[in-house]
Every structure is written in C-alpha cells, then in structure tokens.
C-alpha cells in the first residue's frame, strides 16, 4: 500500500508542471502559465504543512517519518523542511522571472515549465534514501538548469554559460555515477540504510574509499565548492539573472541536500575519510571565494563568488564535526540553518540586482553609484540584502553566522577551532566587498552617463515588488526572531535512515 499523503507534494508539483505546459499551449497570454505555476506551488505547500503538523490535525493519522518503497523514499522532518525550501525558492525565482521575461521577447511557458520541473527534482531529492532516486532527482534539477542558462539564445555570453554549465554538470554526473558503481560493486547495495550498515571488513577495502571519493567529487561540482568552482561566476553572469538566482539557491541547495544526506546517512562509518575532505573544501571555498570577490566589478559575478564563499560557510560545521569525530546532529542542524537563511537572503540579493539591472541595463558596480538619489527604496534593499549576506545584525545573516560559529566551536578539537578562526577572518574579508556595494549605492556621486530623471520615473514590476517584499520581510523577521529558523533546523535534524528496515 502506498502512502499517498506522504508523496502528495510530489504528485501535486508534477501535475502542476504538466498543467503549466498545457496552459502554455492553449493560451495566448503566457503570463497565465506562471499564474498556474504559482497556484500549484501554493497547493504543494498544503500537504507539506499537513505532513509536518499531522499530530495536531483531526483526521490525520500517521506521523513522520513515513517510509515508502522499501526504504528508498523517506518523508521525515528533514525532507519536509528542505522540500519547503525548494518550493519557496522556485516561487521567488518564478516571480523574478515573470517580470524579466515580460520585459523582452523570450519563450515564457517553456521557461516556467523547466523551472518547476527543476524544483520537482529538488523535492524528490530531499526524500531520496538510495542513490538511484537521488541521482534521478539531481538530474531533474540540473537538466533544466542547463537549458535555462542558455535562455538568451542570441546572446553569446548566455550560450557560453549554458555550454560551460552543461559540460561541468555532465562530467560531475559521470564522476558521481562512477563512484556509485564502485560502491555498489563492493557492497552489493545502493540503499543508504544498508550502506551505513556495511561490515568493517568491506569498508576497509580501498575500492570503497575510491568510490566515496568519486561521489564527493560529483557533489562538489554541484555545490560549486573549491576546487570545482570556476564555472559558477561565468554561468551566473551569462545566464538570465533570474536563472542565476535559481541556480545559486535551488541548484546549490540540491547539491547540499545530496551531499549532506549521502555523507550523513550512507557513509557515517567513514566520516574520518570524508570529514577532512569537506573541512578542506570549506576552508578553500571561503578563502578563495571571498578574496576573488573583492576584485569583482560586476555585481552578478560578485554574487557568484560570494555564493562560493557562502558554500564554504555552509559546509564548515558539518565538515569540522565529521573530521573531529564529534556528534554530527548539531553540526547538521547548523548547516541546515545556514542553508535556509542563505536561500532567503541570496534570493533577495539577486532580486534587487535584477530590479536595478532592468532599469540600468547593466550590472557593472560603477553604474550603481548614487542609486540612493534615484531610487531610495532599491538602495535600502541593496543595503538590507548585502549587509545580511555579510552577517550584520539585525538581518537574518547574523544568525546563520552565529549558528555556524557556535557549532564549529562546540566541535572543539583542532579541526573545529581552526575552521572557526578561518571563518572569522573570512567574515571580515567578506565585509569589505559587501559594504563596498552598499557604499557605492548610497554615498558615491551619480555618474554623468546616467539620466537620473528617466530612472526616477521607472517602476519596479509588481511581481518583482512582491518577491522583494517577501524576501525583505523574511530577512528582517528571521534576523529579529532567529528562534524560528533554529527550531526548524533542529526539527530537520531528525533525519531517519529508514525506519522500515
């Protein structure tokens, strides 16, 4: 018997994806396809809420975790929270995309279709507890991403972004699959719960470690951690900016979901192998991302490097705890806290970049000078999101940093303290370029080439206003009441391998 309530979010989202495609076929006004998509996303949130709150609801039976399909698909607290993050991220990306696509002649219906299909992949990934389901979900996230990155068909930068992203993504997939085939060969299973129970004699085989290495390599491509990060700024810059927003949040979260679940659930007994690897990747990502970001003159590229650095911060607690052999659950909760807050503030930052970009038609930081003179509202939003990314209270980013630091210090040991020191230094470095953007927007004189009167007259499109409003409110609320997200993260750290086995 299949527990339909547990997979209802996936079913609704899959039907929405198809409905968007049909709407695109039958309507002339492609705007409706986006409306159908958003309605579907709201409908998807309902079963997610009923699943999470099942205990308190009348007529609802069965509590989390719900184990389906012989343990390969588990809906637990972690899965529900991450699914909600994906649905939220795609909702904001959709709002940003509507205004962007309406502003010029783009294919619209297909865009929404692909974007929602990618979100479905993320939702499936959150529940996957075997490699096959996980990889299918991962490809459902990546495949549409390749196409969306090349959406500006006539633009050579967009072409280049699509091809770079594609080659990197597919190579990463091949490495990941190779790792999975080796692990399968030595253990005879690809189910996480069974992998976690592998006898020590098999774990000691070199092939097992080799397979693990390939799996880690495959995921590092996805989360754009150093040394496999070079594609990130190029793709964000070349792709249409709403796609950059989705890739930096949705696609990256998908990579993290994969990496965290695989490490935590499938290979907990070899945390002495992958722990130091993630620890090193975290340190390198923060340092390289931040130091290169300082030199950037293009805001989208700056956000690209900043997202590399943030990936390092997200990995830090988990990598340090695993390397030191400490309790993984707290570190896991800290990583999820950071991931959730990062999703909100990075979507907001991209949103405001798009709003400014559609007015100025350029993403060069120099042209942002004196934005406060011609749009005080946008300048304030720039301040809110970029300072939140830097981690300044009372904006949400500070709590992400706090959770990260307290988790790494709680790990203790040389692993925990060293990464906390590196992260602290990096936070200062990051402050340099985030405040540079804010300073440019507020205090620099307006360049002569910019016609202030014309810019003052322009409005921000309503869907974009909504997206900016939601993210701005969330960045403030999560900063002032950080308990909300830490409860969510604690809740999500109740990860279950497979209770049915």
């Amino acid at each position: 018997m299949i527990d339909y309530h547990a997979i209802l979010p996936e079913i609704i989202l899959a039907l929405t994806v198809l409905a968007v495609l049909v709407t695109d076929l039958v309507t002339k006004d492609k705007y409706y396809a986006a409306v159908v998509g958003m309605a579907g996303l709201f409908a998807t949130m309902i079963p997610l809420l009923t699943l999470a709150l099942c205990d308190d609801l009348a007529g609802c039976s069965g509590e989390l975790p719900r184990v389906l399909f012989g343990g390969s698909y588990v809906v637990d607290q972690y899965a529900v929270v991450l699914k909600a993050v994906f649905v939220f991220a795609v909702f904001i990306a959709l709002l940003l995309a509507v205004a962007y696509l309406e502003s010029d002649r783009y294919y619209e219906g297909e865009f929404y279709f692909l974007l929602l299909a990618a979100a479905l992949g993320g939702v499936v990934m959150s529940s996957s507890r075997d490699f096959l389901t996980l990889i299918i979900g991962l490809e459902l996230v990546s495949g549409p991403g390749f196409l969306l990155a090349g959406w500006r068909k006539g633009d050579e930068r967009s072409n280049e972004a699509a091809l770079k992203f594609f080659i990197i993504g597919v190579t990463g997939l091949a490495l990941l699959l190779m790792g999975v085939s080796l692990v399968y060969g030595i253990t005879g299973t690809q189910l996480f719960a069974e992998l976690a129970a592998t006898p020590q004699a098999i774990v000691d085989e070199p092939v097992f470690a080799l397979g693990l290495l390939f799996v880690l390599l495959g995921f590092t491509f996805k989360i754009s951690a150093v040394p496999f990060h070079v594609w990130t700024p190029d793709v964000y810059e070349g792709a249409p900016t709403p796609v950059g927003a989705w890739l930096s949040v949705g696609s990256k979260t998908a990579g993290f979901v994969g990496l965290l679940t695989v490490c935590y659930l499938a290979f907990p007994q070899v945390s002495n192998l992958w722990g130091p690897a993630l620890w090193l990747a975290a340190i390198l990502s923060m340092t390289v991302g931040n130091f290169v970001a300082i030199q950037q003159t293009n805001v989208v590229r700056l956000l690209g490097y900043s997202s590399i650095a943030q990936a390092g911060f997200i990995l830090a607690p988990f990598g340090a705890a695993a390397a030191a052999g400490a309790d993984l659950q707290q570190a896991f909760a800290a990583s999820v806290t950071y991931l959730v807050i990062y999703a909100v503030m990075n979507l907001g930052a991209f949103g405001v970049v798009i709003a400014v970009g559609t007015r100025l038609k350029t993403y060069e930081l120099a042209d942002w000078s004196g934005m406060y003179r011609w749009s005080a509202g946008l300048a304030i939003l720039v301040g809110a999101f970029f300072l939140s990314l830097a981690g300044i209270p009372p904006l949400a980013g500070w709590f992400a940093k706090l959770a990260m630091f307290s988790a790494t210090i709680a790990v203790g040991d040389i692993w925990g303290y060293s990464i906390a020191v590196v992260a602290a230094l990096n936070t200062v470095v990051a402050l340099v370029y985030y405040t540079k953007v804010v300073k440019t927007a507020f205090f620099d004189p307006v360049p002569d080439t910019i016609d202030v009167a014309a810019l003052e007259g322009m409005d921000v499109a309503p869907p974009m206003q909504l997206a900016l409003g939601i993210t701005a409110v969330l960045v403030l609320v999560l900063g002032v009441f950080p308990g909300l997200v830490s409860t969510l993260a604690q809740y999500s750290s109740e990860v279950v391998t497979a209770a049915g086995l």
Binding site: G150, R157, E160, V170, M178, S181, G188, E237
Partner: protein
Amino acid sequence: MMTIIQWILLGAALFSVGLYGVLTRRNAVLVLASVEIMLAAVNINLVAFDTYLSDPAYTGQIFALFVIALAAAEVGVGIAIILMIFRNRHSVDVDELDLMRY
C-alpha cells in the same frame, strides 16, 4: 571465462579515455561524445558487478537502464545547446568560448 577483474579494468580504461577526452578535446561535440564514453564505462561496471554479485534484485542492471535513459536525455540537452552555439558563432570550438573569465 572472463573474470570480474577484466570487466572492471575495461570500465576503468573506458572511463579514463572519456575523462581524457573531456579535458583535451576542443570540439564541443567530441566533448559530449567523451562524456558518453564515461557513462558507458559506468554501465559496464554496474552490469559486471550485478552479474558478479548475482544480485537477486538486479539492482545494477536496473541502475544501468536508468543511466542509459539519463545519458540519452543529456545528449538531447547537449546537442540543443551546441546547435544554438553553432548558429551564433559558426563554430563549436570550446576554446573560443572565453568571453567571461576571472
């Protein structure tokens, strides 16, 4: 009678050839072909391990079927992107795609 070692060596060799191709080829179509070689190596591995383990659930073989489907989807996407680039530039040389760096 072939042993598992021979199959795995074949898989490893094919995978290395594919990876070498991805890193060195300049024509985007050949890069795509090299990726396909890597995925084919994965399939050989999966099926070989499946038979070697006499897996009652045929996990490896079923996995290989999914990998074939994934590979087909990737080729579809990849060829579409390469065609788009060819229309704009009349070349699919990946070394020429250097508008954005650093």
